[in-house]
Amino acid sequence: MKQIMAVLTVVATLIGLWYLACIPMNMQGVLVEAERAGAEVAPPDAAARREMGGVSLALRNGFAVPATWAQERPRLPAPHQVAVELWDTTVLKKITSKRSLVYHGWVTLSATLLGFGIGTVLGVLLAVGIVHSRVMDMSVMPWAIVSQTIPIIALAPMIIVVLYSVGVQGIIPKAVISAYLSFFPVVVGMVKGLRSPDAMQLDLLRTYSASKGETFWKLRLPASMPYLFASLKIGIAASLVGAIVGELPTGAVSGLGARLLAGSYYGQTVQIWSALFGAAILAACLVGLLGLIEKTVLKRMGMA
């Protein structure tokens, strides 16, 4: 209860700060509009205004403050503007419409999920190989760890163009990037998990004369579940980022990344912010869903 109160306070403070930040950020634009509409603006000279900071302008033009929260194309849209845009583009639009955020979200989500699935399966397979083969462990594992320090996302534009030149386009290139990004966290986490049973437990199974396969299914795999879920949560967040970034360099017309890009080309800040929040909500839902599955699975296994 106390925690909920604390979280709500922090969120409310953040929103309050956001509203405050809107005033100096948007003041210049608002004053230009107000002058055109014939209002009295404090330094009447436009050039002089451009020299001044947003805060001092706001102090001298108190009347213009409410307008900073209601601009058409603000530099920083106010929270309620983003919320209204989100509501308009998700609930009020038909999902088949090109302007519906649900439609764009689905385009990105489908690539994310496909890539995440591929990346997870491959990652788990490689981890199983690494745990059971000393050669693979010693030759592949160092590279898997090093590759985590590399900004893999820099490869995204190239992957898209290369796949395009061999005739693959649409959802697959984005899914490949997503898979690539979720692959390594899963490998590293799963290797850690499959190795988590201690020597005592492994010895016990040996006294039962369990085979390697039995040890795997009855001890290693169950023991790895907490680690697997921890890395799946990292992996799905990375997958979503991959799918969004994968939409940037091709000039894609649909998807959350395409909304971001189109918004930044045409100065539609409200659209950028709503796409951003759409992506954030999507990420939160995906991570939350995985957390829920984690809780259920671990409970059924008697681990949580």
Binding site: V146, V162, A280
Partner: protein
């Protein structure tokens, strides 16, 4: 075709050599531990070269490593300029500002239980979001030059760093804090002598996660607009010109920068947190 066959044979030989080394009597020595991944890496490179040559894979799909190396060596001034623009100006300055701000914020937050309770879930939540998406907004605010890239990096590294530092500052046990109390230590004395050292493993964890995030942020932000240099700019324009050898050379630079940056932070960690179990040999 012979080249491809040779590549297959070489792959088999490399694997056989590694198997011998890994299962041999000296498999736990340091030299073998170092040699096996190197042999594996070298085999992959040579097989890549042979397959690309043997099958005549066009440049637009996959350039041979030798070609990439030649391009790398041939355009060092360009690569260096890109590196300075993206890494030194964009990523590094953003990294320092973001991690520094997150650290100070964490110290401030740590004094209040209420703030910490509220901020930790929010911070954890934000750390999982696709923050890269703020790049177009920040590019719009701060212009095309490195300042906007640094701003993206600041936003990206802030929350992971904040969450880790706050968690680290909670790491001491009640017993340890009570001991400091019996010494009549002031808040700052017990902060610098007990809680900050105890938080170091967490802080360095945050710093290490942030190294990769910083590079990603700086590179992706350039996709949304940049002056005519920078690693992200070079990658996106070279892809447009189908000059994939240049793209790969740039990726080599990014990989080297990322690995060295991470390695440097890990090295500092090793010296600062030498007492921690994970650092003992």
């Amino acid at each position: 075709m012979t080249l491809v066959a040779f590549a297959l044979v070489l792959w088999g030989f490399g694997w056989w050599l590694n198997t011998r080394l890994a299962e041999g009597p000296h498999s736990d020595t340091r030299a073998v531990r170092l040699a096996i991944p190197l042999i594996f890496g070298a085999t992959v490179l040579i097989v890549w070269e042979l397959v690309v040559r043997g099958l005549n894979v066009p440049l637009v799909i996959l350039p041979a490593p030798s070609l990439i190396a030649a391009r790398f060596a041939g355009s060092l001034p360009i690569l260096w300029a890109d590196f300075v623009q993206t890494f030194v100006k964009g990523a590094l300055s953003g990294y320092l500002i973001g991690c520094g701000a997150a650290f100070l914020m964490a110290v401030a937050v740590d004094r209040s239980d209420f703030l910490r309770l509220g901020l930790l879930p929010v911070g954890n939540f934000v750390a999982a979001l696709p923050i890269v998406g703020t790049a177009p907004i920040l590019v719009m605010w701060f212009g095309f030059d490195w300042q906007s890239k640094a701003a993206v990096v600041v936003v990206m590294v802030f929350f992971p760093m904040l969450v880790n530092t706050v968690a680290g500052l909670r790491e001491t046990t009640a017993m340890q804090r009570d001991l400091m109390e019996t010494y009549a230590a002031s808040y700052w004395q017990s902060f610098f002598k007990l809680r900050l050292p105890a938080a170091m493993p967490f802080i360095f964890n945050g710093l290490k996660i942030s190294t990769t995030l910083a590079l990603i942020g700086a590179i992706v932000a350039e996709f949304f607009g940049s002056p005519t240099l920078g690693m992200g700019f070079r990658i996106s324009t070279s892809v447009g010109q189908l000059a994939l050898d240049m793209v790969w050379a740039e990726i080599v630079v990014a990989a080297l920068a990322g690995t060295l940056f991470y390695g440097l932070v890990a090295l500092i960690e090793h010296h600062v947190t030498f007492w921690h179990p994970s650092q003992r040999r």
